[in-house]
């Protein structure tokens, strides 16, 4: 449906991704965010349907009022007018204890089970492209209840087999997260790209198309 055209609104694919992501976040839930698109999505949710969305940053910022986009997930913007300036131990402990509902992640590669690579393209000991590594992604993807992945949709990124499994999705299929020892009832929830929204099949845990964006 050509919503954008009827309303005579122009928007970019990235803006649309932020809107779509924001709508997933329920009022009164807690979300672990990175900087860039995730914080835009979370702030938009707060300003629209979810004024009581609790924003949390891995380095310790809890419940900030974001004044401008932070450059780092640990810079002063991430705890501006926050309810608490804590630390990594505190935030990751909260995630492990089950207090964080959502986490946003990005990736260079994703597979059908929502496993993510942010470590290396090519061989680990002889990288073609060395990426930053897990950072807090493995922790977020292991410990938060539902992860939302924001990334570009193209064949190089949506791969059959990852070069490196940095952050766990559903690993090799149903029940594998629990068998590996990861907390129950956790895992990837949505993949949002410039083209559409994917979810995960309850039975097979494989990624499936939910909707295509109206552009």
């Amino acid at each position: 449906m050509p919503v954008g055209r009827e309303l005579k609104i122009t928007f970019t694919a990235v803006e649309l991704m932020a809107c779509v992501a924001s709508r997933i976040l329920e009022d009164g839930s807690a979300v672990l965010v990175g900087t860039g698109l995730p914080i835009i999505a979370a702030t938009l949710a707060q300003k629209t349907h979810a004024p009581n969305l609790l924003i949390i940053f891995e380095a310790g910022g809890i419940g900030p009022v974001i004044p401008t986009i932070p450059i780092s997930v640990g810079d002063s913007r991430t705890f501006h007018k926050a309810v608490m300036a804590a630390n990594m131990d505190y935030v990751m402990g909260c995630a492990q204890a089950g207090l964080i509902d959502y986490a946003f992640l990005g990736a260079a590669q994703i597979d059908q089970y929502g496993n993510l690579n942010t470590t290396v393209i090519g061989r680990h000991d002889h990288p073609k492209v060395r990426l930053p590594g897990s950072g807090g992604a493995n922790d977020a993807g292991s410990l938060c209840r539902r992860t939302i992945i924001l990334m570009q949709h193209d064949k190089r990124r949506f791969v059959e087999k990852l070069d490196f499994l940095t952050t766990p999705g559903y690993l090799t299929g149903p029940g594998e997260r629990e068998r590996a020892g990861l907390p129950s009832n956790t895992g990837p929830y949505r993949v949002i790209t410039q083209l559409g929204i994917m979810g995960f099949d309850d039975g097979s845990k494989r990624m499936k198309l939910l909707s295509v964006h109206p552009v």
Partner: protein, 337 residues
């Protein structure tokens, strides 16, 4: 406890808990002594070639750039860094040829600014090696285990992934629940350097805002250098002891370095210098540019005060203060190209 899997990464900084206790008992000075010294003396006395080390802060937030420049000036070599969200700190240390091995949670990137040209080039060419992978919580809990004097801490992270496969952790069957559990080995870095907002001459330190991993890192490190924006009286510490983030008996050296986190952010005082970051990211696209940068800002400079003059002096720092307090909008030249 049955070991189910063992990570194949290099185990760095681990000590048998009794060996760690011996170090803490014999080497950590519980006497209240004046530890003020210059940054060059602190680096000379408490760091050496081949050490495994960690830096406080968050890569480009509350990071002791003053100490990093000194490590380069003193020509430290073959160091292994805890890449615990290492950003501008590791970038400059790799460029300065101080570091050649990395245990990596987050390295070779500049967060919102993108990937690091210098760091990527070094690791992709094989000049520096990533000898273990880990996650951010993994590093935090390596330090926490050490802070508690334990050989490891259990956690429900890294399970089922290549991050674990190349880590120094082990997966065991939890004797209570029977579920697989990841054991994160303790980490006692040879030295750590933490930049704080203020401290007294003994090292009692206050940090404004988030502490990141520094509470536990300060307790884990075998040697700890504190650099501080400002020295305060012991009385000011004792007036509000709830504010003390790092107590004196963990500290080996106290160095007063105003603006010591530049070009990084110092929460509440000054924001990151994005003009300078853009200059570095631009110059570091080539090895020639890297050499030029190091010569201009580090090697031909004798003190941090001289460096601050070179990057714009008080006028620049006042601007960064206004950006920090949101009185002035932030401009990011690296986002424009």
């Amino acid at each position: 406890m049955k070991v189910i899997h063992e990570g194949g990464g290099e185990l760095l900084g681990w000590l048998d808990p009794d060996e760690a206790r011996r170090w803490m008992t014999e080497e950590k000075n519980r006497g209240l002594e004046d530890k003020r010294m210059t940054i060059s003396e602190a680096v000379r006395r408490f760091t050496k070639d081949g050490d495994y080390f960690a830096l406080g802060g968050f890569g480009h937030v509350r990071v002791s750039m003053a100490a990093i420049y000194e490590l380069i000036r003193q020509g430290r070599r073959n160091l292994t860094i805890a890449g615990k969200t290492a950003v501008h700190d590791i970038d400059i240390l790799i460029a300065g040829k101080v570091v050649d091995k990395v245990e990596c949670a987050y390295s070779f990137g500049h967060e919102l600014r993108g990937l690091s040209p210098a760091g990527r080039r070094a690791v992709e060419s094989g000049r520096i090696k990533v000898v273990a992978e880990i996650s951010n919580a993994g590093f935090q809990w390596r330090f926490k285990a050490a802070a508690m004097g334990l050989p490891f801490l259990p956690a429900r992270i890294m399970l089922g992934t290549d991050t674990f496969r190349l880590s120094s952790a082990k997966i065991v069957e939890d004797p209570f629940s029977g579920k697989p559990l990841c054991l994160i080995p303790a980490c006692y870095p040879d030295f750590a350097i933490i930049h704080v907002h203020r401290c007294d001459k003994y090292g009692n330190s206050q940090i404004d805002g988030i502490e990141i991993e520094d509470i536990d890192l300060a307790r884990a490190a075998k040697r700890l250098i504190i650099t501080t924006e400002r020295l305060i009286d012991e009385e000011d510490i004792r007036k509000d002891p709830g504010r003390t983030a790092i107590p004196y008996f963990l500290v080996d050296a106290v160095c007063e370095v105003k603006y010591g986190s530049h070009p990084g952010n110092m929460p509440g005082l000054y924001y990151s210098d994005e003009e300078h970051m853009a200059e570095w990211l631009g110059m570091s696209r080539t090895e020639e540019g890297v050499r030029e940068y190091l010569e201009k800002y580090i090697l031909s400079v004798e003190s941090f005060e001289e460096y601050i003059q070179l990057v714009g002096g008080e006028e620049k720092m006042k601007l960064l203060e206004r950006i920090e307090t949101l009185e002035e909008p932030l401009k990011c030249p690296w986002a424009e190209s």
